[in-house]
Amino acid sequence: MPRGTIPGVPVPIDIAKVARLARLALTPEEMERYGAQLGAILEHAASIQALAIDGVVPTAHPLPMLNALRPDEVEETLDREEVLAQAPDRDGPYFRVPPFMEEA
């Protein structure tokens, strides 16, 4: 399995696991290529490991915003037929997909 490492902070990249989590059916060649590229990018990104940032509060959002609330009013929604017209497969008013699990 291809592995990328960060100097000083060895971090194995289990690229097959990452691809599975991301729902990407990669070929073995693709996994090798992407694994090596991720290694190089993470090696550069490891520069932030050197920063003294203990005690710094993380920022998830650039501006101070609280929950955005609105009155609970009935509003127009998208037309169901127009939305379903884009679906690769449908069954009446539903999106149809292959089975989630095998039949018992």
Binding site: V18, A19, L42, S47, I53, T59, H61, A68, F95, P99
Partner: protein, 492 residues
């Protein structure tokens, strides 16, 4: 009439429409002629909306004939990046995974442009899902730079920058997550504005990294960029992250000039790492500002060199979550699979190009158990340092400046094999997004190859008035009036 209407500014064309010198139909015909003459070379559009554009132009002409004035964008031909939803008009984000997708609604920015009377001529090419700095990552082929077709227009909003430079539209909308408006504006010699985070609704913008994405305008002048900004900015109940306060008033101070303006040069971004021609143009502009009464000083923002690394963890992390919705269930092409998971994994593998795949993998990794704190968590802390550095700097200066891009337009294919080299070109534009600041690129000169050089200005959040005043001052001082050879006459 002098010159080709396709080379007019929005302000100039608006005046001509109101005086009766020009009709919206004639203006539309002019930009179509330009697109017809240049598109085979540039490939800046993905989709043209001929019928919709004709109807909008006719409506504007009818309004003017009836003595009504639908607003400053009435009859003005504009283009929209292909990651903004247009009802019934294909919206692909430059990706195969959205091939054939016809949104059932308009993005709020599109609605606002239509309400202002604008003529939307088409959807522009882009790096797939706005991930890239060259527009080479489009699944539908690259866009080329109007100044030199062997070079890239920048990205990810390269199509929008190219059509404005070429004269196939008088203005355009792009989106900017790490520089995707400002960098292509710089490489194509036009003005590109990224407004304060939250000032422009993102309802109907296909999300890339939600804490960073912002829509903004491309134009040929600062005044035109301000006109477009005013048309699209303001609270939208459909976007929960949209800012609820008033939109900054930019007109009263737009022409206030450089006198007394406090300008800070970011030490970490304005020195080595930039091409000599880029630094020379920066130096000339700063000298002109100083000679005109601006107070120019250098400021150190020590977190800047780390912003890039933080960004390339935060943005892919957010992208990996946002792009989970493309799974072959509700829209887009689907590949067969025995189970829903196999169907999704096959459809996603086939639908996403290499750069998007790379970023989804990178983001998934950075968020995965065991690595979250070392990468994503630390990157969020670096973001705090960047915001604190900016806050300190804006206590001392009105605007911060540095080159938009360390180089002018680079050759097609030059960086496609080295993703990291492509990422490093974003070093000057990324901090603005991490801070949620407004930023703008203004063309200030040409390098030895005749390629445009951009000058970037940043202001504090909601500081659009100071930003555009300073940008206008730079525009006047630089006196940049060059056009690419394929645009036939000068901008007026």
């Amino acid at each position: 009439m002098i010159g080709d209407p396709a080379d007019r500014t929005i302000a100039g064309a608006g005046a001509a429409l109101r005086s009766g010198e020009l009709t919206a139909a004639e203006l539309l015909a002019a930009v179509r002629r330009r697109a017809g003459a240049t598109e085979a070379l540039l490939h800046a559009f993905l989709t043209l909306d001929s019928e919709g554009a004709e109807q909008a132009a006719a409506a504007a002409d009818a309004a003017f004939a009836a003595g009504r004035d639908p607003g400053p964008l009435a009859g003005i031909p504009l283009a929209v990046k292909d990651n903004m939803c247009t009802r019934g008009i294909e919206t692909t984000c430059g990706s195969r995974i959205l091939a054939g997708y016809h949104p059932p609604y308009d993005a709020t920015v599109v609605t606002r442009l239509r309400q202002a009377g604008a003529v939307i001529v088409g959807k522009t090419n882009m790096d797939e899902f706005a991930m890239g700095s060259s527009t080479e990552n489009s699944a539908y082929g690259p866009t080329r730079n109007p100044w030199d077709p062997d070079r890239v227009p920048g990205g990810s909003s390269g199509g929008s920058a190219a059509v404005v430079a070429a004269g196939s539209a008088l203005g355009a909308l792009g989106s900017d997550t790490g520089g995707s408006i400002r960098q292509p504006a710089s490489l194509c010699g036009v003005v590109g504005l990224k407004p304060t985070y939250g000032l422009v609704s993102r309802y109907g913008l296909v999300a890339f990294a939600s804490s960073l994405d912002q829509i903004g305008p491309f134009a040929r002048t600062v005044e035109d960029a301000a006109t477009l900004f005013e048309a699209i900015a303001g609270h939208d109940p459909s976007d929960a992250t949209s800012y609820r306060g008033p939109v900054p008033e930019v007109w009263p101070t737009l022409e206030a000039g450089p006198e007394g303006l406090r300008v800070g040069v970011i030490s970490e971004l304005a020195g080595k790492g930039n091409d000599p021609a880029v630094l020379a143009a920066l130096g000339r502009t700063l000298a002109a500002l100083e000679a005109s009464g601006a107070v120019v000083r250098e400021l150190s923002l020590p977190s800047m060199p780390y912003a890039l690394d933080a960004y390339y963890l935060l943005a892919p992390a957010e992208c990996s979550a946002n792009l989970a919705r493309f799974d072959g269930v509700r829209y887009g092409p689907r590949l067969p699979g025995d189970t829903v998971e196999q169907m999704m994994a096959a459809s996603r593998r086939d639908g996403f190009g290499p750069e998007v795949t790379r970023r989804i993998l990178l983001g998934t990794y950075a968020l995965s158990a065991g690595y979250y704190e070392a990468f994503y968590g630390r990157a969020q802390k670096v973001r705090t340092l960047v915001i604190e550095d900016f806050a300190r700097a804006f206590q001392e200066v009105d605007v911060l400046v540095c080159p938009t891009s360390p180089t002018t337009a680079f050759a097609l294919g030059e960086r496609t094999e080295d993703p990291l080299a492509m990422y490093l070109a974003d070093v000057g534009t990324i901090p603005c997004n991490l801070g949620g600041l407004p930023g703008i690129s203004v063309p200030v000169g040409l390098d030895e190859h005749g390629l445009p050089i951009g000058f970037q200005l940043l202001a504090a959040p909601l500081g659009e008035a100071a930003l555009l005043r300073a940008a206008r001052a730079v525009e006047v001082l630089a006196g940049f009036s060059a056009r690419p050879a394929l645009a036939t006459s000068e901008v007026r």
